[in-house]
């Protein structure tokens, strides 16, 4: 066990933890942030996507030691009042079916909009290709990302 310090959703945390522990388990088991889901455990499905220093990463294969001193954002940190453009767009378009993959989808979408305020369909396909949805909500996800981009632009 070692002490690892980082920030989650703006709050400093300090964990006594095996440094090889996947970030996903630290978030879910140690910190109680269960919005981030376990899907495949091998970075193959994207359900566990969170942001580390603003970039989308797969928390199931990211060891805690790799995020020491960094800023982590989970689905709970997008906003506390559903005001993030991605949250508003997801509600507006009614994207989820079963919903299990959606926290990861939304975090990838938010990361995309962080670097591209007006993504094309091709940009969306490239960015979201690593997030799988067994319900097949891809068309609604793409539509919601366009809506979120528009909401973010109109809010400025």
């Amino acid at each position: 066990m070692e002490t690892t310090r980082f920030k989650v959703n703006g709050k400093s945390v300090e964990l006594q933890i095996d440094p090889q522990t996947p970030l996903l388990w630290a978030l879910r088991e140690q910190l109680g942030l269960t919005g981030t889901k376990f899907g495949c455990g091998m970075a193959l499905c994207g359900a566990c996507t969170v942001h580390v220093d603003g970039n989308a990463v797969r928390s199931c294969v990211t060891p805690v030691k790799a995020i020491a001193g960094k800023q982590v954002k989970t689905i709970e940190g997008l906003s506390t009042d559903r005001s993030h453009p991605v949250q508003r767009a997801w509600l507006q378009v009614q994207v989820p079916q079963c919903g299990y993959c959606q926290p990861g989808q939304m975090m990838s979408a938010a990361a995309l909009l962080g670097v591209n305020a007006n993504p094309s369909d091709a940009d969306i396909d490239d960015a979201m290709a690593g997030n799988l949805c067994r319900c097949g909500t891809y068309a609604r996800i793409r539509k919601a990302i366009h809506v979120a981009a528009e909401l973010a632009r109109s809010a400025k």
Partner: protein, 201 residues
Amino acid sequence: MISRHQAPFLLCSCAATLLLLVGISKFLPRASARGQANAGNTEKSLLAFRAVASVLNSPRCLNCHTPSDGPLQGDDNHPHAMNVKRGTDGKGSPALRCFACHQTENGKALHAPPGAADWQLPPQKTPMAWKGLSMGELCRTVKDPTKNGNRTLQDLIPHMDTPLVRWAWSPGPGRTVPPLSHDEFVSRLKEWIDTGAACPE
């Protein structure tokens, strides 16, 4: 008959001719030896490159040194799952970066994402692609600074010692390694460069 006036001139002409012949005779064997040496070096160089190419053409190298717009996977060089893209800097598309999944070390499970520091493909503007090239084309590509990331021949040597290149020899479970050891590979690369970096036709 040679007159008294012609004799000194003839003597000088003979001396000059003799000197010229001596000069040529001294030069000719050397030129011949140099030619043989060059031919020997060229042969050595070509053999060394053949060994180098056996590594460059291994799946661990080819999967990123590809002309496609995304990386390949496996020993059969199939397209990377999820249609992953190269991106302009070779580190993935803006919101799906290589490091989203690839850590600085290999995943321990079979088929888990492999990892090394600076995991990336060559950048879009110089993709350093050699999948599908003949031996000669590969050789000229590796030598050409406009196609090899603006590297001199000597610059190629430290590149082969980066963590990402070295990863090819410890690629994690389920992946084959190149046919030469890393030491032998670097040694043959140096030999190829030192012997003139000859390329097959």
